[in-house]
């Protein structure tokens, strides 16, 4: 699926959050959105996913090709997992399959398939409160994969996790992207995540959020390793891009407080 973001502007009341955002997302590409807090990267993701109506501009799906059995082309992975506490792991996944006319057997097969993919099979009957944060986010991923999306929209999926779990899941995400060639938009404030996972990184300025630069990382995701000198170089280049913005953001928050 190819997505075209065209002239997106958005304002909350008096505050202008995004101005004239234009870029495309190619099929099989992972695009990371980075920027200091308050730059509107999550807002932009919501607009891309159709959960927020932009003040101006539009999101175009240019290439309608979707994977076989796709129920929901643009699918979210949430920072806070957004799991229903009253449903088991399997129940949470089956939730998103229930309203699409699939037979019970089809649904169960899909649930089993994604549970296997995410190593959650043994946890299928557990309730979310029984799971660690990492496990919860694996359920979030499994749920998103169950609908066979054309693109994943990931909103800081590792931010709510502890540092060790983050490393583990980061490797799993990289493996997933490498294996499936999934199109994804990945919002993060963590530059390491961006350089490990993204083909291109869109760096945003803050308030109003505009594109400062689109940074390309031309190493195949499958070949990237933690601590690779090339990746470190990309990371510091990105840091140089947004450093001043981050300092300004930091000061402003202090002033606000």
């Amino acid at each position: 699926m190819r997505l075209q973001i065209k002239g997106i502007c958005h304002s909350y009341d008096q505050v202008e959050a995004l101005r004239d955002i234009d870029f495309g997302i190619e099929p099989g590409e992972v695009v990371a959105l980075i920027g200091p807090s308050g730059c509107g990267k999550s807002t932009l993701l919501s607009i891309i996913g159709g959960l927020l109506a932009p003040t101006r501009g539009e999101i175009l799906i240019c290439d309608k090709a979707t994977p076989e059995g796709c129920l929901n082309p643009l699918t979210y992975v949430f920072q806070d997992f957004a799991l229903l506490p009253w449903r088991t792991v399997a129940g949470n996944i089956s939730l998103v399959l229930e309203d699409h006319g699939l037979s019970k057997a089809d649904r169960d097969a899909r649930v089993a398939e994604v549970l296997e993919q995410t190593n959650l099979w043994d946890f299928r009957d557990a309730y979310p409160k029984q799971l660690s944060g990492g496990m919860k986010q694996r359920v979030g991923i499994a749920r998103a994969l169950a609908v066979r999306p054309a693109a994943l929209l990931m909103d800081e999926p590792l931010s709510a996790l502890d540092a060790q779990t983050r490393i583990l899941l980061l490797d799993e995400f990289a493996a997933l992207f490498a294996r499936t060639g999934m199109t994804a938009v990945y919002v993060t404030h963590n530059l390491n995540e961006a350089v490990r996972l993204a083909n291109r990184v869109v760096a945003l300025r803050r308030r109003p959020g505009t594109i400062k630069e689109i940074h390309t990382i031309d190493i195949p995701i499958a070949e990237r390793r933690e601590g690779m000198p090339e990746l470190i170089a990309h990371e510091s280049a990105l840091w140089n891009l947004i450093r001043d913005e981050a300092i300004a953001a930091d000061k402003e928050l202090e002033n606000v407080a």
Partner: protein, 277 residues
């Protein structure tokens, strides 16, 4: 250097007064449940009460003795009157409660979910909730007569308002991100309501059931003031009018036990429906 430091430490230690333990300071502020104490307290109060009655400190006019109350209760049981009264009351309680709850849930969901219903609904409920329903009894009699409908209406009316408030409070408390999640997966509205909002609001709704069931029991007396030949409320009223204080307290005991039963049932319902918590 390290040698020096350890020497200094040793010196300091010996120079100080004899070693004392760090005092545990986090005492109190941690009440624990003790079912034995709960029952013990009941037993002690009843024993003291009986003692006061037997010795004449508490006059029979002021308060009947526990033995007299037990006798009155026993009398109600052996004559079968208790079941007659209880049956009539349970019918009204259950009927009135269900009517009020169904209506309350419906309105509560509307107020919780739709902008057009919110402001008028909240204003309406806030204005009518505090009215003592007993004050409206004459109106209910005009509208519904002196038969069973006015009794159902009294209880249903009392149950309706707290149910509305709890329901829309519960709907408000459903995490927005769960609803957004449902929408992001293209769940139809009815599915969002049934699979996300309803179970999400359920804990609040169930705790509201505790309040509304208590209110229903409280209103039973008011409901049975008019035209009720049988019923626990009618029994208590009649006993009061007849100064049969032993029967009056016996009726109150029955109401209290009824309340405990309802509370126990709701506890089971909680555990069954909210096992995921």
């Amino acid at each position: 250097m390290s040698h020096d430091i350890s020497e200094v430490r040793a010196e300091r230690q010996s120079a100080a007064s004899p070693a004392s333990q760090v005092r545990f300071r986090a005492t109190g502020f941690n009440p624990k449940a003790n079912p034995v104490a709960a029952w013990g307290f009941f037993v002690a109060v009843i024993a003291l009460w009986q003692l006061g009655s037997s010795t004449g400190v508490i006059s029979e006019l002021a308060m009947p003795s526990p033995v007299a109350v037990a006798k009155a209760l026993w009398q109600l049981i052996v004559t079968g009157d208790l079941w007659l009264h209880l049956g009539a009351s349970l019918q009204r309680l259950v009927g009135g409660w269900i009517m009020g709850t169904v209506a309350g849930l419906f309105v509560g969901f509307l107020v919780g979910m739709f902008s057009w219903a919110r402001s008028p609904g909240v204003a309406f409920v806030s204005a009518l909730f505090p009215i003592p329903k007993i004050a409206l009894l004459p109106l209910f009699i005009i509208w519904f007569g002196i038969g069973e409908p006015s009794k159902f209406a009294t209880i249903a009316f009392g149950v309706f308002f707290p149910t509305v408030i709890n329901t829309f409070g519960g709907v408000d408390n459903v995490q927005r991100n769960l609803i957004r999640m449902g929408q992001s997966f293209d769940l139809p509205m009815w599915s969002v309501i049934r699979k996300i909002i309803l179970p999400g609001a359920l804990p609040t709704i169930l705790s509201g059931f505790r309040i509304s069931s208590s209110i229903a029991i409280i209103l039973l007396i008011a409901a049975e003031m008019i035209g009720a030949q049988y019923g626990i409320g009618a029994l208590i009223l009649a006993a009061g009018n007849l100064y049969q204080t032993d029967q009056l307290i016996a009726g109150v005991v029955v109401l209290s036990l009824l309340g405990l039963c309802v509370s126990w049932l709701l506890g089971r319902l909680d555990r069954w429906l909210l096992a995921w918590r």
